[in-house]
C-alpha cells in the first residue's frame, strides 16, 4: 500500500494487526483497532460540527492516548492539527490558536484559557472537546462537550477524498518579531520523512518506541507515525515523567524500549541524574538524537553506559523535518572532542550550500544550507514576507534556506557551523531572542531590552537579558523571572538579567549587540 495520508498508516495497521497495542500511556494502553475506532468517532463528531477539509483544529493536551486519538481524528476529518504546549502560558497558546483561526479545539480541562476570543469574524469554534472533567463546565463556551461524550455521539463520517497535498499539521516555532509562526506541513511532507525512516531504521511490529518529545515539537512526527505505520507500540512519556530522570530510566528499562529518540539534553539529564545500565536495556537497538549539538564527552559517556544500540545524529529544522543524518561510530574515540557532523542528506532530500550572494561555495568553505525535496514545508501560515525570504528558486526547484551555516567534508558530510541570525537552540527548542525581548517589553518598568546568547560549556547556551529601567526602583530578578514565566514557555526564560543605565547603541542608534556580548565574554588573556 502506498500511503497518501497519515491516517492511512493507522488504518492499514488496524486491519493487519487489530489486537496489537498501538499506544501506551500512564493510564493504560489502546489497541490498533480501538485507536482507529475512536479516531473515526472523533472525526465524525468534528465533521458533524462543521470541521472540514483544510480547517485547523487546536490540540492542547498532555501526552496521552486521547491526544493521539485527537491527532488522527482531526486528520480523518480532513483538517490539520495544531498542537499547543499545554504547559506554556495560556496567553501564548491563545495567540497561536487565534492566528491560525481554528474551527474546533480538543483541550485539557485545565487549559481553557487558550480558547480564542470569539469575535464572530476571525474565529468561530464549531466545537470545544474537553478532556478530563472540569468542575464548572457550564462556565465555558457553549459548544463544549466532554471527550467521552464526543466519541459516543454516533455521528456518521462521510468518507472524504484524501489528498497528500492537504495540510496534516501546523507546528508553531518561535518568531523573531515576538509572534510564533506556524510551519505548515502536508501529509506528503510527513509521509516522505516517515518512509525514509522506514528504509533506514527498518522498524518491525515488535519495536517499542519512546515518545519523549511533546506533540508541538517536530520530533513527535517520528515518534508517532513510524511505529503506527509498522504496527509497533508507542510508549508516551508524560511531561511529568520526562522531568524525572530516575523514573525515566526505570521506564525505559521496564518497558524494554527498542528505539529511543530525544534531544541530547534529555540523554544528558539521564546521564547526570540516573544510573544508566546496559544490563537493564538489552533490547534497545537504536538511540536517535536531534535538535541541538551533542557535546562529544557526554555522547561518549552515554555510549559507554549503553554500548549495544546504534546511535544516529538526525538534523533538520521543523520546516523540513530530518534532512541530513550521521551514524555515530560504535565506539567514539577517547581523544575526539569535536561534535559529530550532521552528515549526509537523507535520500528524499537534496542539499546545496550557498554564500550570501547565492553562489555555491567550495568544499570546506562555510555557507548556508539549502534543502529541497518532498519533506520541505509549503510555507508559514499567513506570513507572505517571511515566505518570500525563506525560499529561493534555482532552475525551477524550490529550495528552503535553513539559516544554518555548514561546511562540506567529503568523508563526514555536512559539519554544522552555527547561525548568523538571532535564533538559538536550548534543549532542542528554537528560540528567537526577539520573542523574549517582546515579552520583556511588556513589563511597564522596563525602558530598553536587549537579549543575547553566549555559549556555555554546561548547558550549551546561556541567555542573558540586558535591561534599562524607567524612573523608580527596578524590578527584582525574581519579579522578572515570574513575569517571563507568565508570558513565555519555560525554556525561553533568560538565565541572567543585567541592569544598565542605558544600553549601548551603534552609530545608527541600534542596540549594539556585539558590545553587549563582548561584555559577557571573559577578558582575553594578554
Amino acid at each position: 500500500m502506498i500511503a497518501r495520508h497519515l491516517a492511512d498508516y493507522l488504518e492499514a495497521s488496524a486491519a493487519r494487526c487489530p489486537d496489537r497495542i498501538a499506544v501506551v500511556d500512564s493510564q493504560g494502553s489502546i489497541t490498533y483497532s480501538e485507536l482507529n475506532r475512536q479516531a473515526d468517532a472523533l472525526a465524525a463528531f468534528l465533521a458533524a460540527r462543521g470541521v472540514t477539509r483544510g480547517d485547523r483544529v487546536g490540540v492542547v493536551l498532555p501526552k496521552s492516548i486521547p491526544a493521539v486519538v485527537a491527532l488522527f481524528g482531526i486528520m480523518k476529518a480532513g483538517a490539520a492539527y495544531v498542537p499547543v504546549d499545554y504547559t506554556a502560558p495560556a496567553e501564548r497558546g491563545r495567540r497561536i490558536l487565534t492566528d491560525c483561526q481554528i474551527s474546533a479545539l480538543v483541550v485539557d480541562g485545565r487549559c481553557l484559557g487558550v480558547i480564542p476570543e470569539q469575535d464572530g469574524t476571525s474565529t468561530t469554534l464549531g466545537a470545544v472537546v474537553v478532556v478530563s472533567a472540569v468542575s464548572d463546565a457550564t462556565a465555558i463556551a457553549s459548544r463544549t462537550i466532554s471527550f467521552d461524550a464526543a466519541l459516543e455521539s454516533r455521528d456518521r463520517l462521510t468518507l472524504l477524498e484524501r489528498n497528500s497535498a492537504d495540510l496534516a499539521y501546523m507546528l508553531y516555532t518561535s518568531g523573531s518579531t515576538g509572534m510564533p509562526k506556524g510551519v505548515m506541513l502536508t501529509h506528503e511532507n510527513a509521509l516522505s520523512f516517515v518512509e525514509w525512516c522506514s528504509s533506514v531504521f527498518e522498524p518491525t511490529e515488535n519495536d517499542r518506541f519512546s515518545s519523549h518529545a511533546p506533540f508541538h515539537f517536530d520530533l513527535s512526527v517520528l515518534d508517532i507515525y513510524v511505529p503506527i505505520k509498522h504496527g509497533a507500540t508507542v510508549f508516551l512519556i508524560s511531561e511529568e515523567l520526562g522531568k524525572n530522570p530516575k523514573d525515566l530510566a526505570r521506564f525505559i528499562a521496564s518497558n524494554r524500549l527498542t528505539v529511543w529518540y530525544s534531544t541530547p539534553s534529555i540523554l544528558m539529564l539521564l546521564l547526570q541524574f540516573a544510573n544508566l545500565d546496559a544490563r537493564e536495556v538489552p533490547d534497545l537497538r537504536l538511540v536517535l538524537f536531534a535538535g541541538e549539538v551533542f557535546p562529544v564527552k557526554h555522547l561518549r559517556e552515554v555510549q559507554r553506559r549503553w554500548p549495544s544500540p546504534e546511535y544516529y545524529n538526525l538534523y533538520g529544522p521543523t520546516e523540513t523535518n530530518v534532512c541530513t543524518f550521521a551514524k555515530i561510530p560504535s565506539r567514539i574515540p577517547d581523544d575526539r572532542d569535536v561534535p559529530y557532523p550532521i552528515g549526509f542528506a537523507c535520500s528524499h532530500c537534496a542539499s546545496l550550500v550557498l554564500d550570501d550572494d547565492g553562489q555555491e561555495v567550495r568544499a570546506g568553505e562555510e555557507g548556508l544550507l539549502y534543502i529541497s525535496g518532498p519533506s520541505v514545508f509549503g510555507g508559514y501560515w499567513n506570513r507572505p514576507a517571511e515566505n518570500t525570504a525563506a525560499f529561493i528558486d534555482r532552475s525551477g526547484v524550490r529550495w528552503y534556506n535553513t539559516g544554518d551555516l555548514v561546511r562540506w567534508d567529503a568523508a563526514q558530510g555536512f559539519i554544522y557551523a552555527g547561525r548568523k541570525d538571532r535564533m538559538v537552540k536550548r534543549r532542542g527548542y528554537r528560540i528567537e531572542l526577539g520573542e523574549i525581548e517582546r515579552a520583556l517589553y511588556l513589563h511597564p518598568r522596563l525602558r530598553e531590552v536587549a537579549v543575547v546568547s553566549v555559549p556555555d560549556a554546561d548547558s550549551g547556551v546561556r541567555i542573558v537579558a540586558f535591561l534599562s529601567c524607567r524612573e523608580g526602583a527596578p524590578p527584582s530578578i525574581i519579579e522578572l523571572k515570574t513575569f517571563c514565566a507568565g508570558k513565555l514557555p519555560v525554556y525561553m526564560s533568560p538565565d541572567r538579567f543585567i541592569f544598565e543605565q542605558r544600553l549601548p547603541r551603534t552609530s545608527t542608534d541600534k542596540v549594539d549587540y556585539q558590545a553587549l556580548k563582548g561584555a559577557l565574554l571573559p577578558p582575553a588573556v594578554v
Partner: protein
C-alpha cells in the same frame, strides 16, 4: 533549621538568581510555581540538597507542593536528618 534555610538560599541565589538581593528570596517565596526554577534547575537543587545534607529525598519530598518554598525544603531536610539519626 536556619542554617539549612540559609544554605539552600545561597545556592539558589548564586546558581539561578545572580544579582538578586538576598532579601527578595524569602523563606516562603515560591520557587517552581513562580518560574525561578525550571525542571532542570529543580533537579539540580534536589541533587544539591541531597549531597549537602547527606539525605535521600523521595518522590513525596520533591513533589511541587513540598519542594516549592525554602521553608518546606528545609523542613524535609530536618525531618530526614532526624529519621536518619543525624539531628541537627
Amino acid at each position: 533549621m536556619n542554617d539549612v534555610k540559609e544554605t539552600i538560599r545561597q545556592f539558589i541565589l548564586s546558581a539561578h538568581l545572580p544579582g538578586e538581593s538576598p532579601d527578595n528570596l524569602r523563606d516562603d517565596t515560591p520557587l517552581q510555581t513562580s518560574g525561578i526554577l525550571d525542571s532542570l534547575a529543580t533537579l539540580g537543587l534536589i541533587q544539591f540538597v541531597q549531597q549537602q545534607f547527606h539525605i535521600e529525598l523521595d518522590v513525596y519530598d520533591t513533589s511541587v507542593e513540598r519542594f516549592d518554598r525554602i521553608q518546606d525544603i528545609a523542613a524535609s531536610v530536618v525531618r530526614k536528618r532526624v529519621v536518619g539519626g543525624h539531628p541537627s
